[in-house]
């Protein structure tokens, strides 16, 4: 049975006010549930599905630091091995081993399937979006009622992956549950399900994200964190020159 109850944003706002939590703070807590800390190393799998099932997959490993810096390297498949991607704010480079040269990308260039570079490389909402509470809803993703806060996210800079997002957040834990992503034009582009939680180094985070295209409805991309560990990487390494050095 699907049950959805819309609550008054005013009532919800009062409830959150009573807890002393602003929408921006909710977003910070959501981000805290998407990674184990401000700087970390990771290994993740990306799978791209089409009408006939799994079409392509890749395994990447790398580091993320602060709100807007990440470095990642393809480990699999064989024909992508050694390619590396750097993302600093809106600036993105890819390093191709054959050429030994960083090549600048634009943020619209996709990584694989429905996953944009921003989907994979940028895992902090607070850097890219302003936030307000737009309502509440009880979802039942696993057959049991799950009270959620609905957040309206609006891009605060042009380089954000989406123009705006609607984000459902579990009220009691601040885990993201699902999202709808819109282009700058307002057109709905993708839906995202944050479908699995896993513990890394004693902290439970969202480990699996399913991104569905709303135009090509057979297509979806699954991003899954396989490993995550606290790791401090100097900010000075997030440069195109370091792509050559990254092991």
């Amino acid at each position: 049975m699907k049950r959805a109850i819309l609550l008054s944003p005013l009532l919800l706002g009062l409830a959150l006010y009573a807890q002393g939590i602003s929408p921006a703070e909710i977003l910070i807590r959501v981000d805290e549930r998407r990674s184990i800390g401000p700087s970390f190393g990771f290994r993740l799998k990306i799978e791209s599905y089409g009408a006939k099932g799994l079409e392509r997959s890749a395994i990447m490993s790398g580091y993320a630091s602060g709100e807007d810096k990440s470095l990642a390297r393809y480990d699999e498949p064989a024909n992508m091995r050694g390619k590396k991607i750097l993302m600093v704010k809106d600036d993105m480079h890819i390093f191709i081993p054959k050429t030994q040269r960083p090549v600048k990308l634009t943020s619209s260039q996709r990584l694989m399937g429905q996953a944009s570079n921003g989907d994979v490389m940028n895992i902090r909402f607070q850097a890219d979006y302003d936030c307000s509470v737009s309502g509440a809803q009880i979802l039942d993703p696993d057959g049991s009622p799950l009270p959620c806060i609905i957040l309206a996210l609006r891009a605060k800079r042009r380089g954000a992956t989406y123009g705006s997002m609607t984000l459902w957040v579990e009220e009691s834990t601040f885990f993201p549950v699902k999202a709808e992503c819109y282009a700058l034009s307002g057109k709905k582009m993708k839906t995202v399900e944050y479908s699995e939680r896993r513990e890394f180094e004693g902290k439970t985070i969202v480990a699996r994200t399913v991104i569905r295209d709303l135009v090509a409805t057979d297509e979806k991309t699954v991003i899954e964190f396989l490993e995550m560990k606290a790791q401090s990487v100097p900010d000075s390494y997030f440069t195109p020159e370091y792509l050559l050095r990254m092991q």
């Binding site: 600036d91 040269r101 634009t106 619209s108 260039q109 100097p234 440069t239 370091y242």
Partner: protein
């Protein structure tokens, strides 16, 4: 072309498949990789002025087999790397050439890196010509040559230091003069000039900026920048001043370009200016020499006239060039691209369409075609093949 030739072309196109095999094995921190690639290209020469025709080569194959062997050992503070490659050609001048592309001992301490040995340094963000890359082989340019896939850029022997700081990236290198001759040059390493090289780069707001300074008998200094424009475009530019570019005259070299990514189409457009290249009058004068030599029908005179077009062996002779590359988004399974390079002085150029199928994890197939345009006395017709088609298959194990 007569029917017999059509048949030969068709048969050759079918047979022009090539395979390349690459393997990578890891033993803990030691990686070993090896690859073998062959590219059998079909070409036609119909210009009497083509230097290949002077060598009495007729239409047919250009056959190359290339191999590479790599060893890479990495520890937290130590890196040992060897990359060796070779090319065997079986057409014009059958021979095997081997080069050590990279061979270095790398030491790391925090943000400080020291490399001793042979390595490549690439700083440019341009795709077509890369003027700011003072210490790397010219064939590193990405789209200039359709033979690119079988060309391995060779590094230089050097002592190189790099430092990553919050102020930016600093690099310094000393490249000694080494005169490899005979078999050493043919099978081991190319000769190199003494050079001092300093590099700096950092982000300035949203823009990436870079500076390079080099001294090798004369000063070379360059600056570059690149930045995003919205989420669908980026702009890159670099300028280099050479104190003694050609015939010891100072010259400016400039590259400026943009990448634009639309949902179904990606475009790279670049303009390249070489102040040391031949201007319109000088070029026309030399072309007249070629015409006169062709009218005489004397191969020696013709060869000398052609040599006068690029006395210092540069790949490009003139001052103004443009490159345009159109492609579908690069992550699509089947990608098509159309690259064209144009000499803006004589409007000759090379058109290079390419189809690439990248839908498998361990296999890639690529069909490429190159066609020079601009008439028999255009730069690209004079100094290259008439047309060429090649099919490549790459396999990873």
């Amino acid at each position: 072309m007569n029917a017999e030739r059509h048949a030969a072309v068709f048969l050759a196109a079918v047979l022009a498949a090539s395979t390349s095999v690459a393997a990578e094995i890891s033993f803990g921190k030691l990686n070993i990789d090896a690859s073998l690639a062959s590219r059998q290209a079909l070409y036609e020469l119909d210009s009497a002025l083509n230097p290949s025709n002077i060598l009495e080569l007729e239409s047919g194959y250009l056959g190359n087999v290339a191999y590479s062997i790599g060893l890479d050992f990495s520890e937290a503070w130590l890196r040992l790397k060897l990359q060796d490659f070779g090319l065997a050609s079986a057409d014009l001048d059958p021979e095997i050439r081997n080069r050590v592309a990279e061979c270095l001992l790398g030491l790391e301490s925090g943000p400080f890196f020291l490399d001793l040995g042979k390595r490549k340094i690439a700083q440019s963000r341009c795709f077509f010509m890369t003027p700011i890359d003072f210490a790397i082989a010219e064939d590193q340019a990405l789209f200039r040559d359709d033979r690119y896939d079988l060309r391995f850029a060779e590094g230089k022997w050097m002592a190189s230091m790099e430092l990553f700081t919050t102020l930016g990236f600093f690099g310094a290198a000393y490249i000694p003069r080494i005169e490899f001759e005979g078999d050493a040059a043919k099978y081991f390493s190319s000769p190199q000039e003494e050079r001092l090289l300093f590099r700096f780069s950092r982000y300035l707001g949203a823009a990436e900026i870079g500076l390079a300074f080099s001294y090798s008998n004369a000063v070379e200094a360059g600056a570059q920048t690149s930045f995003a424009i919205g989420d669908r475009a980026e702009l890159h530019a670099e300028a280099v001043y050479r104190e003694a570019a050609r015939e010891d005259e100072p010259a400016l070299e400039l590259g400026i370009g943009a990448t634009i990514n639309l949902p179904a189409l990606s475009a790279i457009v670049e303009y390249y200016y070489d102040g040391a290249g031949l201007g319109r009058d000088a070029w026309d004068e030399r072309i007249e020499g070629c015409r006169a030599a062709a009218a005489l029908g004397a191969p020696d005179s013709l060869g000398a006239a052609l040599m006068s077009l690029r006395p210092d062996g540069r790949d490009l002779c003139c001052r103004h060039y443009a490159m345009l590359r159109l492609s579908n988004p690069s992550t699509e399974t089947l990608s098509a691209s159309l690259t064209t390079i144009v000499n803006l002085q004589d409007l000759s150029g090379r058109l290079m369409p390419c189809l690439s199928c990248d839908g498998w994890d361990s296999l890639r197939a690529k069909l490429s075609f190159a066609y020079p345009f601009g008439g028999d006395f255009g730069e690209f017709r004079l100094l290259g093949e008439a047309w060429k088609i090649a099919l490549e298959i790459e396999l990873w194990l």
